[in-house]
């Protein structure tokens, strides 16, 4: 992939994320998630420009960009109180029911491949209304029919919950999650790919419209905002990433 293509890919993902977050007041972002952070910053900048309500962004692990004074537990308490509207989760595996696996593949505990662990996923998936599944790699090994280990379950009819998956965004496509049905629906395919590409590289079944639209690329104003203000804001927290966003 050329540097130009890579920048276009990142700008598209950032724009999609800003759209998915529209309407939220407070979003939490992981310390090593520059693209979700950039999407949140884009929404914040747009809201400022348009006189819409301000957006609060908590970057976990950053001392400058967090609003907490009660230690590591405060984010989790804040989510339990309904004060976190959106969050991002990834997953070594994501299945068609929206369950995610951050633990590993094979039989627990001596797994074939072991990943770091479930982090706060088992909890936050229940409590944050708009969880965006963000995983750049779009392949059958990531998007599986059934995860080997459920770190966090997408739907649990046996308990009341406000949280769960809202959408799944990859390098190829954007899916919406239907909580009633407990499955994904393809919303759009990114420029340069076809609905067949998505079918071939997705290990689970999903619903789709008869005609699958392309994911809209950022318009000129948005692209300029990303290349200017957002890149500068990113450089504070994610200097390496901001460098890769520089003009080729």
């Amino acid at each position: 992939m050329t540097m130009q293509d890579d920048r276009a890919r990142k700008e598209l993902l950032i724009t999609v994320i800003a759209g998915l977050l529209d309407g939220i007041r407070h979003v939490a972002v992981g310390a090593s998630s520059p693209i979700p952070a950039a999407g949140a910053m884009l929404l914040r900048a747009r809201n400022e420009q348009q006189g819409k309500p301000p957006v609060r962004i908590s970057i976990l692990g950053s001392s400058r960009h967090n609003f907490f004074t009660n230690g590591g537990v405060e984010l989790f308490d804040c989510a339990a109180q309904g004060r976190v509207d959106a969050f991002f989760l990834g997953g070594g595996q994501i299945d068609g029911a929206g369950n995610i696996n951050l633990v590993g593949t094979g039989d627990y505990p001596r797994m074939d491949v072991r990943w770091p662990g479930s982090f706060g996923s088992a909890y936050l998936y229940h409590l944050v209304p708009r969880v965006i599944l963000f995983r750049e790699e779009h392949s059958p090994r990531v998007l599986v029919p059934k995860v080997d280990f459920v770190s966090a379950a997408a739907t649990t009819p046996e308990v009341k919950r406000r949280g769960g998956p809202h959408a799944l965004l990859t390098n190829l496509a954007l899916f919406d999650f239907d909580r009633e049905r407990g499955g994904f629906r393809l919303r759009s395919v990114h420029p340069g790919y076809s609905a067949e590409d998505v079918r071939d590289r997705t290990g689970f079944d999903y619903a789709m419209p008869e005609i699958v639209p392309p994911t809209p690329a950022p318009d000129r104003t948005t692209a300029e905002l990303i290349r200017g203000q957002i890149r500068n804001e990113l450089a504070e927290c994610y200097p390496e990433f901001a460098r890769t966003m520089a003009a080729a």
């Binding site: 909890y123 998936y125 229940h126 379950a153 009341k160």
Partner: protein
């Protein structure tokens, strides 16, 4: 009374087989004590990571000091996966109690309050409930009927962390890293390394006392300059990313890990 001791004496009070609670990388990890623990040949420790760990847990696992770990994740962050943790899982050489971050906070909170368990939101539907039979799903005994997860109290033998400063009375400045206080409240004994001992009384004003863990909860303090290196210490120094990357590369093999460890321990001696 809080004792002021040397680093070796501090870790000498940890006994084989005890449980030791340690904080997340950015919250003040005592790497100096970690080196001293490895040097002292401690074995059989049970780590309780609050709520995750990185280099510290990976070193203690690789060096055979820790034989069991409760954690929500072990990762070197930007430097990648934790190689000795992954190797130990494959070999089946450590006992792992997989958790999720707020459940570890809740377990410590139960110990802080002297109650046997703490209810916690969410978790239902996760396979963590399968692998953690000590976590229970109960019918809520009060309020609206419904299922709720409860986790048992976590009472570690030792809480161990690093902070910028303590005063000579044993009060320790922890800033807004309140989990360090939670760890100390829950643990039977708390051992702290600090960059320096200050002459002023940290409890003297409301402003400074608000960010302080009182000596009441602190059993022993040792001075260890640069004691979190290569991990960061708030307001003092950043992560040494190059060193973490070097560790991540070397610790992929057992031989590489041994070589890293040997250099890490001899550096610790020079500093001490």
């Amino acid at each position: 009374m809080t004792e002021m001791v040397g680093l070796q004496a501090l870790v000498a009070s940890i006994e084989p087989g005890q449980s030791v609670t340690i904080p997340v990388d950015r919250a003040g990890v005592s790497m100096a004590a970690t080196a001293a623990m490895i040097e002292a040949g401690l074995t059989g420790l049970h780590l309780v990571c609050v709520p995750i760990s990185g280099l510290q847990a990976d070193l203690l696992i690789g060096a055979g000091v820790a034989s069991s770990v409760e954690t929500s994740a072990v990762s070197l962050g930007e430097a990648g996966g934790a190689p000795r943790f992954a190797a130990a899982i494959r070999a089946g050489s450590i006992r792992l109690r997989d958790a999720t971050c707020p459940a570890i906070h809740a377990g410590l909170l139960a110990a802080q309050k002297g109650v046997p368990f703490m209810p916690i939101a969410g978790i239902v539907g996760s396979d963590l409930l399968e692998v953690r039979p000590d976590w229970k799903v109960i019918d809520s005994p009060v309020g609206e009927p419904g299922k709720v997860v409860v986790v048992p109290a976590i009472t570690p033998d030792i809480a161990l962390f690093h902070a910028p400063e303590a005063d000579r009375f044993g009060n320790v400045r922890i800033g807004r890293y309140r989990e360090l206080a939670t760890m100390a409240y829950a643990a039977r004994r708390t051992l702290v390394t600090v960059e320096r001992i200050v002459e002023r009384d940290l409890m003297a004003t409301e402003d400074s006392a608000a960010g302080v863990l009182p000596a009441l909860y602190v059993d022993a303090i040792a001075v260890a300059e640069n004691g979190a290196w290569p991990l960061p210490l708030w307001d003092e120094y950043e992560t040494d990313g190059a060193e973490l990357a070097r560790y991540a590369a070397m610790a992929r093999t057992d031989e590489g890990f041994r070589a890293y460890l040997s250099a890490f321990l001899s550096r610790g001696k020079q500093v001490a």
